[in-house]
């Protein structure tokens, strides 16, 4: 497995989740453990570009895959564009859900780019736009208990290059 560009040894115990591998074995504590049962999205990471929940993922299943976490998003020591947009638009308060929100948003952007429909897409065979309604539906797997959702939506819209 490769994590943020670096080769990583898989755990011997198959019970270790990808989340625990990141946090406890590799010291990458940016990815957060919220509910640990797939309900909150705080543990979202990108695997080969697709967003998944690392709490429900057994690390052994991901041998040979490339994992990207919040720690891997900086470019030349500077925040990536989605991180920057969250700061600019107050897309958080306490910050606990933020790494998951940002990884999820990056995965969501690629889904929209390739034309994947969502529950709120009226025409399944038409084109997809990053409207606020689309982003709200597509980000519903990431909860924010501070209630910063309006800032989160604004940040994602700005980062995805869509209008207000």
């Amino acid at each position: 497995m490769v994590v943020n560009g670096r080769p990583v040894r898989l755990p011997e115990d198959p019970r270790v989740s990808l989340l625990d591998l990141l946090r406890e074995h590799l010291g990458l504590t940016g990815t957060k453990k919220g509910c640990a049962q797939g309900a909150c999205g705080a543990c979202t990471v990108l695997v080969d570009g697709a967003r998944i929940l690392s709490c429900l993922a057994l690390a052994v299943q991901y041998s040979g895959r490339s994992v990207l976490t919040i720690e891997g998003l900086a470019e030349d020591g500077q925040m990536g564009p989605v991180q920057r947009a969250f700061v600019d638009h107050d897309g958080f308060q306490c910050g606990y859900c933020t790494p998951g929100q940002i990884c999820s948003a990056i995965g969501m952007a690629t889904e929209i780019e390739r034309g994947a429909p969502s529950h709120v897409t009226a025409d399944l065979t038409g084109t997809v736009e990053a409207s606020a309604a689309e982003i709200r539906e597509r980000m519903s797997g990431n909860l924010c208990r501070c209630g910063a959702h309006n800032g989160i939506i604004a940040a994602i819209q700005a980062a995805c290059g869509a209008g207000p």
Binding site: D13, P14, R15, S17, A36, Q37, G38, G41, T44, A50, R51, I52, L53, L56, A57, L58, V60, Q61, S104, G107, M108, E111, R114, G115, A116, P117, S118, H119, T121, L124, T125, R136, E137, R138, S140, G141, N142
Partner: protein, 328 residues
């Protein structure tokens, strides 16, 4: 979580050889099974990872579509042929779970996911015949607002949670299975068992039998099909009631129809009584209501889920109105 052995299957023969081991379970995306293992509801001695088996989606010789069991739910919902020819299936998948979970969950795993009944999950505090046969059921006299009204028994009223399966039930899907002894196929509607007095036996699968794929037959009326889900919040929640429907109308008369219900049954509920009632009838709310009521006539509501009966009737009417709007 109890310790277990892990093996990754490279092909079907490999998988079913491991899978016949005692207390072995097949592992897809893990979105349900890993959680069940943490809660000790499931305690397999071995997991056979089948996520690297066939995940392709391709046309069949008879004009249908075959979906490999390892296909991720998101891949199925995105596939152009699914969106164009079986929109109810795309809509059902997109109505379920979250984007992250749909990226992980496989088709095979979705078919075999377990109920979300809270008493089933509560190993230390609740009685459950599905988890511990003969123990009793705390849902029947308990908080059963989310529970089933069709296909229930005095042993179990747990709802089947899948959205995808409801669309597959409506669309005449066939499930392909493999076992050390050979292969077989079943209609999806024959895969799941109503609980009866053995709610712990959830499907007709034999020990070690593996779901290898799902096949959608050629079904022209499915091009006009949809899925509607009614739930407590607008996204990322299980269904209170859901309806998958496809309908073919000519000169204002229902020629053919497929109808299945979610959130109300102990299995993905193909509504054959409603279909029979509807065929040959003039399009319109009176016929739609009669059909829906014919299906729900067998409903056994409990203290907190009685609302589902009328909600299901109204949702069927709403969906059929939507699909036949141009014909009325």
């Amino acid at each position: 979580m109890r310790r277990f052995d892990y093996a990754r299957a490279e092909d079907v023969a490999d998988a079913v050889r491991y899978g016949t081991r005692r207390d072995a379970l097949y592992l897809g995306g893990g979105t349900n099974l890993v959680d069940l293992m943490r809660e000790t509801v499931a305690q397999p001695a071995a997991l056979v990872d089948v996520t690297r088996l066939a995940s392709t989606i391709e046309g069949t010789e008879t004009g249908g579509l075959r979906i490999g069991a390892a296909a991720r739910n998101s891949l199925v919902a995105e596939h152009p042929a699914v969106r164009q020819r079986y929109p109810a299936l795309a809509r059902a998948i997109l109505a379920g779970a979250s984007a992250q979970i749909r990226n992980m969950a496989t088709v095979g795993g979705n078919l075999l996911q377990r109920t979300r009944c809270a008493y089933f999950y509560d190993v230390e505090g609740s009685r459950c015949n599905r988890r511990s046969p003969g123990q009793g059921c705390d849902a029947i006299e308990g908080l059963n607002r989310g529970h089933a009204v069709l296909g229930t028994s005095s042993s179990c009223i747990a709802t089947h949670p899948s959205d995808m399966c409801v669309a597959l039930a409506a669309l005449d899907a066939v499930v392909h299975l493999a076992h050390e002894d050979g292969e077989r196929s079943l209609p999806l509607t024959a895969l799941h068992r109503v609980p009866g007095d053995r709610p712990d036996i959830e499907t007709v699968l034999r020990p070690g039998e593996l779901v290898t794929g799902v096949e959608l037959p050629r079904l022209p009326l499915a091009a006009r099909s949809t899925y509607r889900k009614v739930r407590d919040r607008a996204s990322y929640a299980f269904a209170l009631v859901s309806v998958a429907a496809a309908v073919e109308v000519e000169a204002g008369i229902v020629q053919d129809v497929r109808l299945a219900l979610g959130g109300v049954g102990t299995t993905p509920w193909r509504a054959r009584h409603a279909e029979e009632t509807l065929r040959g009838q003039a399009v319109g709310e009176p016929a739609f209501r009669r059909a829906a009521q014919a299906e729900l006539a067998a409903a056994v509501p409990r203290a907190h889920n009685g609302f589902k009966v009328e909600l299901a009737v109204r949702t069927v009417i709403g969906v059929l109105n939507e699909l036949t709007r141009e014909e009325a």
